[in-house]
């Protein structure tokens, strides 16, 4: 099958694995930045097939996971108000705020709708001129351009009842924050391919040089991941630290200039809090002053919300690669997808969710017999 089977071919995977096995001579710790990559790794068992010396550390690249509790609570507050239609991508609905989630707001009568595109939310605003329609604009450089486009369109079409609750984040400052941590063990990065498809690779050479760390732009299918690992390990073994594009079918060096122009028009860079991690300088976007009227925080005056993270949740350490999900005391007991303490257990890209969904056989003391090959 085109586009999917090609990138899951077991024979090609075997060849890449053989190459990695024959190249590696000592332990290396690589971080895959994106939660989508984490799920590919765990879902396909790639970590089980790599040499023991290659450790994959899961990074902070899950947009749902890093959205601050304060913003979630603002979303819950806005969505609860009469006259509001609150639109969101589906995977935000189960993320716990302080005490409840968007599903519970909907169950209590709030008009919370799942959309597949921010432009769907804009259409809902056109169809409901007497209601306020708010779109929950979260995510990295991948989701920011379409959200910016939606605000741009709202102004162009003169749709006054639309606004965006913004919590966009940027990858390069997060990589920098990770490398500056005194406990950082990361020696190479698998950069998120879809982020680079928008932003290009221009932000990375300085980081690679400053921290002497290879950065390999990597896709999301199993063979993409293996190729990313292969190239990163090869650089580490050679003592190199360059930026390498292992995802050329989607990433051009300059990225997508039109998308970047839209970002620069509608958003401006700002300091941003990351859930479980804290504030990272220049790591986010907010609506620029000329689009402020489309800022839901401004429109709904949701200031003064006090938040408190569950003390037992260690998702911040998971997001920084300091802790594997199953090393958390609450994993699988206090914290499950049904009773998540943090977003990493409930997001479809969360590392804790990946370990819980796909790896319980290895992580629980229950039967440990080898699974027979059938």
């Amino acid at each position: 099958m085109k586009y999917i089977d090609e990138f899951q071919d077991p024979d090609l995977a075997r060849r890449l694995l053989d190459d990695i096995h024959s190249t590696v001579t000592r332990p290396w710790a690589l971080m895959e930045v994106c939660g989508g990559q984490t799920h590919t790794i765990i879902r396909h068992g790639i970590d089980q097939l790599l040499p023991d010396q290659v450790e994959l550390i899961h990074g902070p690249g899950c947009p749902v996971c890093v959205t601050p509790l304060e913003v979630i609570d603002k979303a819950l507050e806005i969505a609860s108000r009469p006259g509001v239609i609150f639109c969101s991508f589906g995977d935000m609905l189960r993320v716990p705020g302080t005490g409840r989630d968007l599903f519970q707001v909907r169950g209590a009568g709030g008009d919370v709708r799942v959309v597949y595109s921010p432009l769907d939310a804009l259409r809902i605003a056109q169809q409901n001129p007497d209601r306020q329609v708010v779109f929950f604009g979260i995510g990295f450089e991948t989701t920011a351009p379409p959200n910016a486009m939606t605000v741009y369109q709202a102004r162009k079409l003169g749709i006054p009842n639309f606004s965006l609750l913004v919590s966009h984040v940027r990858v390069p400052p997060a990589i920098e924050a990770i490398m500056q941590s005194p406990t950082c063990r990361v020696q190479g990065f698998l950069a998120a391919g879809h982020v680079c498809s928008v932003m290009g690779v221009g932000e990375y050479p300085e980081l690679a040089e400053r921290y002497r760390v290879p950065i390999v732009v990597t896709g999301f299918e199993p063979l993409d991941i293996l190729e990313g690992v292969r190239r990163t390990v090869a650089q580490l073994e050679r003592g190199e630290h360059t930026v390498d594009n292992a995802y050329p079918r989607a990433v051009r060096p300059e990225g997508n200039p039109a998308a970047r122009a839209m970002l620069e028009d509608v958003f401006e860079v700002t300091d941003r809090a990351w859930r479980g991690i804290g504030v990272i300088p220049d790591s986010g976007w907010r609506l620029s002053p000329k689009y402020r009227e489309y800022d839901a925080e401004y429109r709904f005056s949701v200031d003064g919300i006090q938040t408190r993270e569950p003390a037992a949740c260690r998702s911040g350490e998971v997001l920084q690669g300091l802790l594997k999900p199953h090393e958390c005391e609450a994993f699988g007991t206090l914290c499950t997808p049904r009773t998540p303490l943090g977003a990493t257990m409930v997001s479809s890209e969360g590392a804790c969710a990946a370990y819980y969904l796909y790896r319980r056989l290895d992580l629980t003391p229950a039967p440990r017999e080898a699974t027979p090959v059938v």
């Binding site: 077991p10 879902r43 396909h44 068992g45 097939l49 189960r94 049904r338 479809s348 059938v374």
Partner: protein
């Protein structure tokens, strides 16, 4: 909403609220249909409600589903459906022409499945309190002698067979409900499976269990059987038939085809010695032409379903919690 999704939340609602409140040994078996003995005659009895939106979709309608859903629940206990009841709950304001179209589709599906609608009911709710048309059907049918389909009969060594491509119905519904276009039209696989089951049982009545993987998809059906039987199930991911259009649509939305609903497929757990014959019989039937073996029952990891991935790793295939949610990117 999650409690209606056919996943873990649905199971909990039934096990912790309904089953204890209603009591009874038959209900406690929690099959798709109740296997009953009345006057020495073995029969199956089942009911299902249909709240699908939109009412008409590529490959079918709520009328087809209302027949095929209940017919298939009966077929999964080995019974050939004979009689159906049909309850319509109409929302004030729904077009009479729409009701007539649904009724005609329901009648046609019943005739095609060889069942007769023998009793019914109609209620109307105020505008805003329904979704156009809701339908409940119940059905009864006879269980042939020698047929005893239930998870408790599953044993290590059983072969797991699926009757064809999975995920088609769910993607067809998504394509129209959410206005998504996937480049090719995907039609629901909605179909009555009584004939296919007859063909299988004609080869051997010693099929251990059947399940139609509707809400919650193949993953939910396998998990239900694994939990109810205490068996460990291993499937080979690359052998699970996923059509390219379904795979691509799911890739775009961040969904796993294993959890997407089907309406015309079944999963069979069959003793290994009968597997080839049953597979041949299935492939000879129009609704089972693409049947294939996807795994087997093992002694290890009782009550759990494990997939061998295409690359050679393993992963747990979990019961979904509620509905799958499309991801952000």
């Amino acid at each position: 909403m999650g409690h209606g999704g056919g996943g873990a939340l649905s199971a909990e609602l039934v096990q912790h609220v309904f089953a204890p409140a209603f009591g009874g040994e038959v209900l406690a078996q929690l099959g798709d249909a109740a296997a009953l003995s009345l006057g020495g005659v073995r029969m199956a009895f089942s009911t299902d409600s249909f709240v699908v939106r939109p009412l008409f979709f590529p490959g079918g309608s709520i009328g087809d589903l209302a027949v095929n859903g209940t017919v298939n629940d009966l077929a999964m206990s080995g019974a050939r459906a004979a009689y159906l009841s049909c309850g319509f709950i109409l929302e004030e304001g729904v077009e009479m022409e729409t009701v007539a179209r649904v009724a005609e589709a329901l009648g046609a599906a019943a005739r095609s499945a060889g069942v007769e609608v023998v009793t019914g009911d109609t209620k109307v709710v105020e505008a805003g309190h329904g979704d156009g048309i809701f339908i409940n059907t119940a059905g009864i049918g006879l269980i042939p002698a020698g047929v005893d389909l239930r998870p408790q009969r599953v044993v290590p060594g059983d072969v797991v067979i699926v009757s064809g491509a999975i995920g088609v119905h769910g993607v067809a519904i998504m394509s129209v409900r959410e206005g998504l276009e996937f480049g090719v039209e995907i039609e629901s696989d909605c179909a009555a499976l009584g004939g296919l089951v007859d063909a299988m049982l004609a080869v051997t009545p010693d099929v251990h269990v059947l399940r139609d993987p509707t809400r919650g998809g193949l993953a939910a059906a396998l998990n239900e059987i694994a939990v109810a039987s205490g068996a460990g199930v291993v499937i080979r991911e690359r052998d699970v038939p996923v059509p390219p259009a379904v795979a691509n649509a799911c890739a775009v939305l961040g969904l796993d085809p294993m959890y997407v609903a089907n309406e015309g497929k079944l999963v069979a757990f069959v003793p290994r010695e009968h597997a080839d014959a049953v597979l041949d019989a299935m492939r000879a039937h129009p609704l089972g032409a693409e049947s294939r073996i996807i795994g087997e029952v093992v002694d290890a990891h009782p009550g759990m379903v494990v997939a061998r991935t295409g690359l050679g790793g393993t992963r747990v295939v979990d019961l979904p919690i509620g509905e799958q949610l499309p991801r952000i990117c």
